[in-house]
Symmetry: C2
Subunit: 716 residues, 2 copies
């Protein structure tokens, strides 16, 4: 009998570890592997005391019970009175007399509306850990933070922790269509099964909410910015309501994209002119109707007059006219309008880099207080590396919201291991010099530079119907990173990578050392083998999959890669100085001066701002062509290095995820070689220089790469 | 320490049972719940002995180890020599000396090429269970059968079991497009991720193969019959090869749909005329190329000259000309051509019911020996209830293959609990009278009526990217039923339902009693509330979701529901007797006579074959209108009964799947009410009779139902 019990244990472990399909993301809660540490945890944590007086606190209770019982492998008593050491007391002072008397008011004040405190404290003679906040959602955030500490093998807190989010709107933007395709989605299809809503609640909806709450995300835009007005019809609002009801106790508000021409398409009006009274009336009624379904509806995200979308300019009105019309209608319900600054027009001959600035800077100060302007991190479009958007230094009177892209449209899509926190941090830490040195993008965004009360940061979601949500096991880290940075943009990429690795794979230090480096280097590597030295937007037409720098036959200039790299026999790169498009003039003088001078311009941006001769001598001593070759070859070689690193991590990773990443790295290696070969073969037709000695020449011809077709590439 | 061990056990059980997401289908292998039975199993099964001399036998070994260790909760020794009682010896006589000397040659002879024997036998003084076959795949099938016995709480075999499949080609047809949409798919999107193939092997591909092997499926058509020639290009053949390599050791051959115009679309020819030498040469080369990738490629499935697909008739050639051209080209490789009989032409004014017969019967005897004609179970299109297809009684010289539809295009799609085995059995047991009484469809299909050596049965797959594969937990049963019936069409619906329920949910007898009845009644219920008394094809246009009997504005007559029900002030129903389309003449006289006489025609087919007056007196004593009301109301009420039955099963089902089915039954109840109300409101405009007393009138108007729109209904 004893033997069979032991076997039983063994089989359980087998069952639990053989198939890690990734569905649980970073909320896996395996038993604490370090048995000494587990024993310590058990000594300090033996009971929980939480009055589940609302849905959110009930979730907090369930999460504590679930997380702790799995991590500690012990049954915790859930008590209503304090009677033992090691009690975790969670709640708000409003609904917990014990916490009300715990003398934590000063700490709670610093936690604000959504923050939390975690305080080790002896109450009534018993050693306790208090998890509290001024609101229930604050408590839930605190619970997840507390569990994260145990998941990541941190010591039990001995000093108080106070944490409050630096950004107010912490959001995911889903580019999900109503037919369940996802624009730029590489992880299957939309998790929103509109057809079976509102009656069928997919368990995924709950897990989505719970996962987001664990990293502080508090808003979700359900629908694509290339919007369909059908989602605003009653049949769909009932479905949206069902999702909002699921998300509410997790602190997540629902937003929708508003198609600007909706009054015509579903309202039967002849115009969508924002100054037309019927149009204004229609939106007022529609918004009233939405709030009758969803009393805490967050608001609208709007893409207008960009890439063919309708907008106020169709009626010779400004973006401010359009945004304010919606803002006025939604203000009585405390709703928000998030207006996208990603605009460029096919009729505008100006450098696409400049158009958003040209359109929006004159409108600074004209937007209603409940409007945020959502600006992509760079002025082109989510490139592998991109200088920060000039708007961040140019619109002090308007709250600017950050739009990052988690889905890797231009960074290897579904098959590349690219950790994006370094990209996000590179932008956030860039100095706009708006109010002199130190006016970083992060401080513009969080409102501290210009004392805005509204602030926001969004990530275009990389979530789909794949069992592991994100397609690539490591893509989960980018969802995680976005959440963590919306909460606290001062976290380092390394901290975030390590946290995520610990929770997602292992707390083993040998594993962490290699795996953290693997993640931290990954974004530099893809820049090297795809778009080095400031090259950008040379991807395949439409689907953006793989290299196609040669494409020059698209209808509009800015749809062609040749528009961006401008390679010719003299050199390569986009002159954005005063001798060229002068986009640099849109930056503050300190920034402009640094980048316009080729002696001070960081080489990573060189070809972004300058057309440089092939023989230009780089800091490495190589000429530009040689440097290009060096970057492409080094980048591709480093992917082989990533494969070796991963192989060395086999002992630490369950077989299923290990094999998945192994196969994906093999694809990445193939794609890196493809990028390298295709780009160098093509650019060589301009440089007319040979590959430097020591580089194995491509085994395929330029023509081979040029004829590749991907009619069913995903996300297009 | 002892306490914590016990807790550990308890937590493991908690982990294992809380979230049954359905991914494991009927291969869950929970511990045998009846501990007495488990002890008996352990006494009889203590070791396995199998020499994994090829990939298939290695899989058999893994499946035995995995299945037995989980069911029996004990570690089995895997031995290479026989040294203890209770050894399961598996293999073929060719590679196992022990089995070669076991005197089971007579049994094995009866097992044929793919069958198996399971024989309890004492060898060298040790009690053994022998699992053997003449081929490795036979052994694997035997292993799955043996495990199924334990999963379903059957006694350890005391007598030999011999089993051989009655059908040779046991197939799934995927209507999956290369962009991952699935025509008539209601379980998400295609599981074939063409973009990441061939390098990334989704674990699903392996689980798909393994699941199919467990029920004897041995062929899969990867692509939609509405075909895209791109799948025949080298880049895609590499991807197909990768799947074929995964499936091969599981005994599954890969087939593709051949777009008839491929020589033009990807071959650059000016014609696809099957008698043109260039065309014939092109297919020969293409087939040679395919076999260079996939040496055991199964062959082609072809939809030609139907619903806009290209075909030989475009060149005034016959279906036989087209099929034989492909058959000649593929014969050297032992490939098969499966030609679909589902043809109807927009130019043909004949009753759609008659067109396949008209096209194909004259060609009987003209097809090459490696051609099968794949015939849908009925002549219209996978209706909820449909008389068997007249072709089954009319083409003795041609092997006819059955095409069933697992995906519930016309039977409640993704949200209805409908067990299809009764539908399949109804067709299979129908008597064609081709060679007199007893010439059932099943015997036509298995080749026994006309001594064909080729035989086949296919199901249009209901599999998608949903975590539980089939969208509805009970839809998995239809995949299972198809597999089991392809192996042995004499199995009863009840046997199949019970087997599946035992493996998928529980062996508890109280559970099984109610749940089996729930499944067995479900198909009758949906017929009652959607298409009773022989009504058919009155679903929504295009997507086929919900009722739309009023539609009369479609371009072609047979696209309109009014074409099928022909309701008018005199009555309702399609006259297919000699006074009408005379489709009945296509059946053998014994069948025709029964159905053309309204006194002998089963009322379930009444309106299929007859236009009957509203006042016609039914066997129930009700007139036709009253009977229609009775059927619609009874059907909808019975869905409420299904909800109650399911609620009573709560104690036996894990929370996740219980809640899923509960929500889906709620949708089904809403849809049943919708069907009932919409159809009766509409048909009342012809019958001009009131609802009989006692029926609560619909709470919505006919106009309400007529204006419902489903622009994003799935699978369209």
């Amino acid at each position: 009998m004893k033997n069979s019990t032991l076997l039983f244990l063994c089989l359980c472990c087998f069952l639990l570890t053989k198939g890690e399909n990734g569905y649980d993301l970073w909320l896996r809660y395996p038993p604490v592997a370090d048995k000494m540490l587990q024993a310590t945890y058990r000594r300090h944590i033996s009971a929980i005391m939480i009055n589940p007086s609302d849905a959110t606190l009930n979730i907090a209770r369930q999460e504590l019970l679930n997380g702790l019982s799995h991590l500690l492998q012990t049954r915790l008593s859930a008590t209503t009175t304090l009677h033992q050491d090691g009690t975790v007391v969670a709640g708000t002072p409003q609904q917990s007399p014990l916490l009300a008397q715990a003398d934590i008011g000063g700490l709670l004040k610093a936690a604000g509306n959504e923050g939390f405190v975690i305080v080790p404290k002896t109450l009534q003679g018993k050693r306790c850990i208090l998890i509290s906040g001024n609101t229930s959602i604050g408590v839930l955030y605190g619970v997840f933070h507390f569990l994260r500490g145990l998941q990541t093998a941190q010591p039990v807190p001995v000093l108080p922790i106070v944490s409050a989010p630096k950004i107010q709107l912490r959001m995911l933007d889903h580019w999900d269509n109503l037919n369940r395709t996802v624009e730029r989605g590489y992880a299957g299809f939309s998790i929103w099964n509109w057809h079976t809503l509102p009656t069928y609640i997919d368990p995924r909806y709950i897990d989505y909410a719970r996962t987001n709450a664990s990293i502080g995300i508090n808003g979700t835009v359900l629908t694509n910015v290339n919007a369909n007005a059908t989602v605003l019809t009653p049949a769909y609002l009932e479905k949206v309501k069902a999702l909002a009801d699921v998300f509410r106790p997790y602190g997540i508000r629902v937003y929708l994209t508003a198609r600007f021409s909706a009054p015509m398409e579903i309202g039967g009006l002849a115009t969508a002119d924002p100054l037309n009274d019927s149009v204004r009336g229609w939106w007022k009624e529609k918004i009233k109707e939405i709030y009758s379904y969803i009393p805490d509806f967050g608001g609208f995200l709007v893409k207008a007059n960009s890439e063919g979308q309708p907008g106020p300019q169709d009626y010779h009105r400004t973006h401010a006219d359009g945004a304010n019309m919606l803002a006025d209608a939604i203000a009585p319900y405390k709703g928000i309008v998030i207006w996208r600054a990603f605009v460029y027009s096919h009729d505008n001959p100006a450098d696409r880099h400049k158009q958003a600035y040209d359109d929006f800077v004159p409108l600074d100060g004209q937007f209603r207080p409940n409007v945020l302007l959502q600006v992509k991190n760079g002025a082109i479009d989510f490139m592998p590396r991109e200088p920060f958007h000039p708007l961040f230094g140019a619109m002090p009177k308007t709250p600017l919201m950050m739009e990052f892209q988690l889905t890797q449209e231009y960074l290897g899509q579904g098959t590349s291991l690219v950790f994006l926190a370094p990209l996000f941090k590179e932008t956030l830490e860039s100095d706009t010099y708006r109010k002199g040195a130190g006016s970083t993008v992060a401080k513009v965004i969080d409102g501290s530079v210009d004392q805005h009360t509204l602030s926001g940061m969004a990530g275009v979601a990389n979530i789909g119907s794949d069992i592991d949500w994100c397609g690539h096991p490591f893509a989960q880290a980018n969802w995680y990173a976005l959440g963590r940075l919306t909460w606290d943009h001062t976290l380092s990429s390394e901290q975030i990578a390590e946290e995520w690795l610990r929770m997602t794979f292992s707390n083993d230090l040998t594993f962490l050392k290699s795996a953290t480096r693997l993640m931290l280097e990954s974004r530099d590597i893809i820049v090297q083998y795809s778009n080095p030295i400031g090259l950008h937007h040379i991807m395949g037409t439409g689907h953006h999959y793989g290299p196609a720098p040669w494409v020059d036959n698209q209808q509009r200039p800015e749809w062609n890669p040749v528009y961006y790299h401008k390679a010719d026999s003299a050199g390569i790169g986009f002159d954005r100085t005063a001798t060229g498009s002068n986009a640099l003039a849109q930056y503050q003088p300190a920034v402009r001066r640094q980048w316009e001078d080729i002696t001070t311009c960081d080489e990573k941006y060189l070809l972004w701002f300058h057309h440089m001769p092939w023989h230009f001598r780089m800091k490495s001593g190589r000429n530009l062509w040689e440097e290009l070759c060096y970057q492409y070859y080094t980048g591709a070689d480093r992917v082989t290095g990533m494969q070796h690193t991963w192989e060395s991590l086999r002992p630490f990773v369950d077989p299923q995820r290990f094999e998945q990443v192994t196969m994906l790295l093999k694809i990445q290696q193939q794609e890196a070689t493809w990028w390298r070969n295709a780009c160098l073969l093509y650019f060589r037709t301009f440089s007319h220089m040979p590959l430097p000695a020591g580089y194995a020449p491509p085994d395929k011809t330029l023509e081979y790469y040029q004829q590749l077709q991907f009619p069913f590439a995903p996300g297009n």
